[in-house]
């Protein structure tokens, strides 16, 4: 208790609160602009943290991380362009909600459930740090491959009207990510001798192209496909979701938080996998699965809760074992070490006050995020009042800045343009875009973990069926595919029945 009070006083100084708030604000800005990741924001915040005391410094970094994770939803909901890969699943129902005139409800829901997910995962982290870190560290390449394969099985639920087209989209995503230097052997693949191609296609660049460029083309077209003039909405009202709506979905929020925390605790996974898995889970157990993709609020709640629950999950291996789950937490780890905090089991004994301080900082960061976002919603929804074509000009410039800033290379702008126009054509022929993103997110891990597992086992396939964890994930993947196929068949049967009824009516 003594440590807790000392941590409380350290975290509640004006400097700490201001540092956390600054971090949250910068994170929100970087997270909401496609291409500007919170990893970049963290890299910029790290040198500033040198001059601060330990707790405010960690507060600045964690505030930036948490703000960035939450900020991605704003552009995903308002423009259909996810600010971060973690927000890609939010587009599926968040943007249709905006088209239906419920932008502020979607934004408000996203913020509130994000805070819920983040704090829930922190609580799980505090009570189960020892147990979860032991389980998570037991994940070898075979287990990670099985987990990613299970994540990939959710593609069946994202295929829209045609399973074949959805699978084609997924394979295209996987193919794109094999371009560039092979991560294991360093062999150039499909680079055609170009130095620029060695780095491959950056996931963020592709994401900007896939979501932003079709938006721009549609806005500039006289008769855009799928026209839904969401611009110049006169009835844009900054409303918040009702308590009833949130309490009705509390069980979904808890489920999604558990998924997010679990995925976050496994190094090398991340928010994008968690949000897609949570989305698929929400759709599977929803009373109205047919409304997903058309503006169902559950499709916003699940991915947003899960991707923020990842923040607590990633702290488990980070603090208990010193293993960062992703580049962003690697920067947080660097910040901890610079201030003399060496993560590992000894951290909880030697620096108990600072550890409690980190817990309090996370809560304060979420309070900041909640306040800033709820205030911001009043401003954000007015984006929809701007004429769509004028907004598209601004989006074009912001996307070019985002794509360029990733590697300071105009090659990424060209790649964004080519991928974007290809995506526009694919959308027009009804090939879904989301499986491409899923393929791109999961592809590199899928390949690298499989190859590493094969090398470790010297080519013996038993590595994939002797581990219980692997078998569990494989079984789950098979079950997901079977259930999805059955529900597809059921839907087809229903459609055929409706069609024959229509024919009878028209004949009569």
């Amino acid at each position: 208790m003594e440590h807790f009070f000392s941590a409380f006083f350290l975290s509640m100084t004006p400097t700490s609160i201001a540092a956390i708030g600054l971090g949250a604000l910068v994170g929100l800005i970087f997270g909401s602009i496609p291409g500007l990741t919170f990893t970049v924001a963290l890299a910029l915040a790290l040198p500033i943290s040198f001059s601060l005391d330990t707790v405010p410094a960690i507060g600045l970094l964690l505030g930036t991380y948490i703000g960035g994770m939450t900020g991605g939803s704003s552009s995903a909901i308002l423009l259909g362009i996810p600010g971060t890969p973690s927000a890609a699943a939010t587009v599926l129902d968040g943007y249709p909600m905006t088209k239906n005139g419920n932008a502020s409800i979607a934004l408000g829901t996203a913020v509130i459930v994000s805070v819920f997910g983040g704090i829930f995962s922190l609580v799980i982290m505090i009570v189960s740090v020892d147990l979860v870190s032991k389980v998570a560290i037991g994940f070898g390449p075979a287990e990670l491959f099985a987990l990613v394969l299970f994540g990939f099985s959710t593609i069946c639920g994202l295929c829209g009207t045609s399973l074949i087209k959805g699978l084609i989209a997924g394979v295209l995503g996987l193919m794109i990510m094999t371009i560039g230097l092979d991560a294991i052997e360093g062999v150039p693949r499909m680079t055609f001798g170009s130095v620029n191609m060695l780095g491959g296609v950056n996931l963020l660049v592709a994401m900007i192209g896939l979501f932003a460029v079709p938006f721009i083309i549609e806005a500039f077209s006289e008769d855009p496909p799928g026209t839904n003039k969401i611009a110049r909405m006169s009835n844009v009202r900054p409303e918040l979701p009702s308590v009833r709506l949130l309490s009705r979905n509390i069980w979904l929020m808890i489920r999604s938080s558990i998924i997010g925390t679990g995925i976050g605790a496994i190094p090398g996974t991340g928010g994008a996998i968690a949000s897609f898995l949570a989305y698929d889970n929400a759709k599977r157990f929803s009373k109205k699965p047919e409304t997903f993709g058309k503006g169902n609020v559950e499709g916003v709640i699940a991915p947003e809760t899960a991707n923020n629950a990842v923040t607590g999950g990633t702290l488990i291996p980070l603090l208990s074992l010193g293993i960062p789950g992703d580049p962003a937490t690697a920067i947080v780890l660097a910040g901890l070490m610079i201030h003399g905090l060496v993560p590992g089991p000894a951290l909880f004994m030697n620096n108990a006050s600072e550890v409690y301080g980190i817990y309090i900082v996370v809560v304060v960061a979420y309070v900041w995020v909640l306040g800033l976002q709820l205030l911001g919603i009043r401003v954000f929804v007015h984006v929809l009042r701007v004429p769509r074509e004028i907004l598209a000009v601004v989006v074009l410039v912001l996307c070019a800045i985002g794509a360029y800033s990733i590697r300071n290379s105009p090659f990424d702008i060209y790649a964004m343009g080519i991928i974007g126009v290809a995506a526009y054509v694919l959308v027009a022929v009804r090939v879904p875009i989301t499986p491409i993103i899923l393929g791109m997110v999961l592809g590199p891990t899928l390949e690298n973990e499989f190859r590493t597992a094969m090398m470790l086992s010297e080519g013996k396939a038993d590595i994939f069926y002797t581990s219980l964890t692997v078998l569990i994930f494989f079984t789950l993947a098979i079950l997901v595919i079977i259930f999805q196929s059955l529900s597809e068949l059921k839907n087809k049967k229903k459609e055929n029945e409706n069609e024959s009824e229509n024919i009878k009516v028209s004949d009569a």
């Binding site: 094999t178 294991i184 074009l396 800045i401 360029y404 054509v425 069609e499």
Partner: protein
């Protein structure tokens, strides 16, 4: 164009992509050495073959599958799935030109030129106030926020550079 023809064209294009992709993979990426090393070729080749298989399925379904009765909703959906080639091509040219201008002239010069061009050509806006306001406004705001406030590196030109 009906959905069926779209799918046939899409299937043919994707099948060609898979053939070319698989051939390039076999031709340019070395295979593994065995004993657990499956090599850098295995996954790209497998993905290429998967694409070939799926595009064949799509083609077969489009050619031999049961033609759906077109409902009113399908007609509306088809009318929306017309590809606007001109705006799409124009945007591609503009994005490529923007990238090139960023490299050669830097952000401060490239951005107003591209915004001006987009407003004149794509949006056919003729109001000088709006065009100049947008061109200068977007450039200055982005430059101040990103370069000055957030410290993000915006492109410097190799030929000319301002800011």
């Amino acid at each position: 164009m009906t959905d069926r023809i779209h799918n046939i064209i899409l299937g043919l294009i994707l099948f060609s992509v898979s053939v070319v992709w698989s051939w390039l993979v076999i031709d340019s990426i070395p295979a593994g050495f065995g004993d657990g090393d499956i090599g850098a070729r295995a996954f790209p080749l497998m993905f290429g073959l998967c694409l070939g298989f799926l595009s064949t399925l799509l083609l077969l379904k489009a050619v031999f599958g049961k033609a759906n009765v077109q409902t009113k909703l399908d007609v509306i959906a088809n009318s929306h799935s017309v590809i606007q080639w001109l705006p799409a091509g124009l945007i591609l040219v503009e994005i490529v030109a923007y990238g090139y201008l960023l490299k050669t002239c830097g952000f401060v010069i490239a951005t107003p030129i591209v915004v001006l061009f987009v407003m004149l050509v794509n949006l056919r806006i003729r109001s000088i106030k709006l065009i100049s306001g947008m061109s200068i406004g977007i450039t200055l705001t982005c430059w101040l926020i990103f370069e000055k406030a957030l410290g993000i590196y915006l492109a410097n030109g190799s030929w000319i550079n301002l800011g």
